[in-house]
């Protein structure tokens, strides 16, 4: 591939990456506490939960859908798994249970969208409330806390000095990138979002694959729930509120179009890192939380504006 073609193909991601580096440089100039190894690992760890949810969100948004229920699924998967752990369920089984609950919630979304013909916004809005209510009902509103150190290793542990959530995040992104680029599921995901009619006419079982994509998104929320529960040493029925917005923001900052048909998980990872770097840097600088919200909102808008400008030029 010539450098020119590379630039055309990856221009959007390079733009986002420049944004990330720009932020890093700004914070590096402004405070000596930002660009240290321990702080960079700290940022990576803080980003991991949002980044993992955003992988699923990226798949969903590429199909021109949306999933508003991810935060509630995080809570529901978390409490089901947490309660199982506390009643003595073996670690691996409890983890599978957490992933399974997420998968199941996601599949319900998918079935309602594919066969019930509900708009994704409505179906997942319903699930957002149902899963939250289920989490509260399941626990009687109380958090489930106190887990074994072997479970908590998933958040507190390290592999070669890298915090385990970061390792999990990197592995997940590797797999998701491969799936999206090299497998049938990946190609169909783009096809469904690019032109659903054409996908149906060319024989793609759109309904099945779409339901699968929502199931996958739910499962990633389940995985995020596992890490979050290990991190807080507590599974809270009120956990994950508004996580959907963070995940959507990371996805669109990363260049995935809400109209569907385009986007990459690597872009999403950069998007999630931009949000993590912003929050971390602004905290370290002691910027008021009110200003932080303005900055984060502005970055989302600027990123999407830049994206649209780029797309106009490509045409």
């Amino acid at each position: 591939m010539t450098p020119k073609n590379f630039l055309v193909q990856h221009g959007r991601q390079l733009g986002t990456l420049c944004g990330l580096f720009g932020l890093v440089v700004i914070f590096w100039i402004l405070t000596p506490h930002f660009l240290t190894v321990s702080n960079l690992l700290n940022i990576a760890q803080q980003t991991s939960i949002n980044a993992i949810i955003a992988v699923g969100m990226t798949f969903v948004i590429i199909t021109a859908g949306i999933d508003l229920s991810v935060g509630s699924i995080v809570a529901f998967s978390g409490v089901v798994m947490g309660s199982a752990l506390q009643s003595g369920t073996p670690l691996l089984l409890a983890i599978l249970l957490g992933l399974g609950v997420g998968l199941l919630c996601g599949l319900v979304n998918g079935v309602l969208i594919s066969w019930g013909r509900l708009p994704p916004f409505i179906s997942t809005l319903g699930m957002m409330s149902v899963a939250r209510g289920a989490a509260l009902l399941y626990t009687g509103g109380r958090p489930v806390s106190g887990f074994s150190s072997s479970f908590r290793w998933l958040s507190t542990g390290e592999v070669a000095h890298i915090p385990s959530p970061v390792v999990i995040m990197v592995v997940i992104y590797g797999i998701a990138h491969f799936v999206l680029r090299r497998t049938k599921l990946g190609r169909y995901t783009y096809a469904m979002g690019g032109n659903e009619e054409a996908a149906i006419l060319s024989g793609v079982s759109v309904k099945v694959y779409k339901a699968g994509v929502y199931g996958l998104c739910g499962m990633f929320s389940g995985l995020a729930a596992i890490i979050l529960t290990a991190r807080l040493n507590s599974a809270q029925p009120i956990a994950g509120m508004m996580y959907e917005l963070d995940a959507i923001a990371a996805t669109v900052i990363g260049g995935t179009s809400l109209m569907g048909g385009e986007g990459t998980v690597l872009g999403t990872l950069i998007g999630a890192l931009i949000m993590g770097v912003l929050r971390n840097g602004l905290n370290i600088l002691g910027v008021s939380s009110f200003v932080q919200q303005i900055v984060i909102g502005s970055v989302i808008v600027v990123a999407v504006l830049a994206d649209m400008a780029l797309k106009r030029q490509r045409k």
Partner: protein, 323 residues
């Protein structure tokens, strides 16, 4: 082809510059502060920065910091229930190497891991408002400098005792709860129950959440009045819900006939008490907590001993003492 790539580069560079410039202008003013921070830096991490209760706490802390010549940073999550965000903030402040952290924890067990992290970084942690679970803290091998606060459970008892007295031990009572699963509200409600459940003449006819919100307080209490028009008293677990509820009382033409008791005694709540639309509110003095937090942080930084527990008074604000 080349031209297209060239144009794109131009866009990328211009967006990049715009972001850099915007970033610099947004935060540029912070640099001076950072550079001149020779005096000790104390961080106050509240549950959320947009609740009147924590704004009072912040103001108390700011006044004390100014008096003592301390550089104070105040941070908090956007939403009170977002424990993980609060955890991130504390982690980031540890990276900043502040000299002490005053923390009003959003979860009594959930914040234990970051307290331990601060301990490892030799940054003293002072807990305000909500206790850290002592068993969980011991198990994790962590320690806190001191706890400064009053007890939500006690506050609920104060409200219960007042309503019991006013109703002379007989009547129908409704409760507006906080967000389900949120400890602060649970403690207040349990404290309230611990008193009124002892009185055989008191009947709790309805107990529902209004999610801490003013507008929901209005709606939920309006619904309660539909199903239980004979309610004589309402305990709302915070003032915002109570303020919503008094509007519902007014809409039903029952102002003054239903005893509404709130919690926190925020400014609007005090105004309502002055006007007589609200009967009472439990005051926890968050400004005092903020002030004592900074003062004790200062003592710890200077190596002076501090007590394990610094109590902050709880009082019931009624028309008699609202001024």
């Amino acid at each position: 082809m080349f031209n297209q790539g060239h144009m794109k580069m131009k866009t990328i560079v211009s967006v990049y510059l715009a972001v850099v410039l915007a970033g610099l202008s947004f935060i540029g003013c912070q640099r001076r502060e950072e550079a001149s921070a020779k005096s000790p830096t104390v961080a106050l991490v509240v549950k959320t920065v947009n609740h009147p209760y924590f704004i009072d706490m912040q103001q108390g802390a700011e006044a004390a910091a100014k008096r003592l010549g301390i550089h104070l940073i105040v941070q908090g999550a956007e939403r009170e229930v977002d424990v993980e965000k609060q955890m991130q903030i504390v982690e980031n402040l540890i990276q900043k190497k502040v000299d002490a952290i005053c923390l009003a924890p959003s979860g009594s067990r959930e914040l234990v891991p970051v307290v331990v992290k601060a301990n490892r970084a030799n940054i003293p942690v002072i807990i305000l408002d909500t206790r850290i679970d002592s068993a969980a803290l011991r198990e994790a091998g962590g320690k806190v400098g001191t706890f400064i606060g009053s007890d939500n459970f006690e506050g609920g008892k104060v409200a219960g005792t007042y309503i019991l007295e006013k109703l002379k031990g007989n009547g129908n009572v409704a409760i507006l709860e906080g967000i389900p699963g949120h400890e602060t509200g649970d403690a207040r409600r349990k404290g309230f129950h611990s008193v009124v459940d002892q009185a055989p003449g008191i009947k709790i006819v309805a107990s529902q959440t209004a999610n801490w919100e003013r507008d929901q307080g209005f709606n939920v209490f309006q619904n309660m009045l539909q199903s239980h028009p004979d309610v004589q008293a309402l305990f709302a677990c915070n003032d915002l819900m109570a303020l919503g509820a008094i509007e519902a009382v007014a809409a039903a033409g029952k102002t003054g006939k239903i005893l509404v008791v709130g919690f926190d005694a925020v400014k609007d709540g005090r105004d309502a008490i002055r006007q007589g639309t609200m009967a009472a509110s439990v005051a926890q003095h968050p400004d005092e907590m903020g002030k004592l937090g900074v003062e004790n942080a200062c003592r710890i930084i200077c190596g002076e001993p501090v007590p394990d527990y610094v109590p902050v008074k709880i009082e019931l604000i009624t028309k008699q003492n609202v001024e």
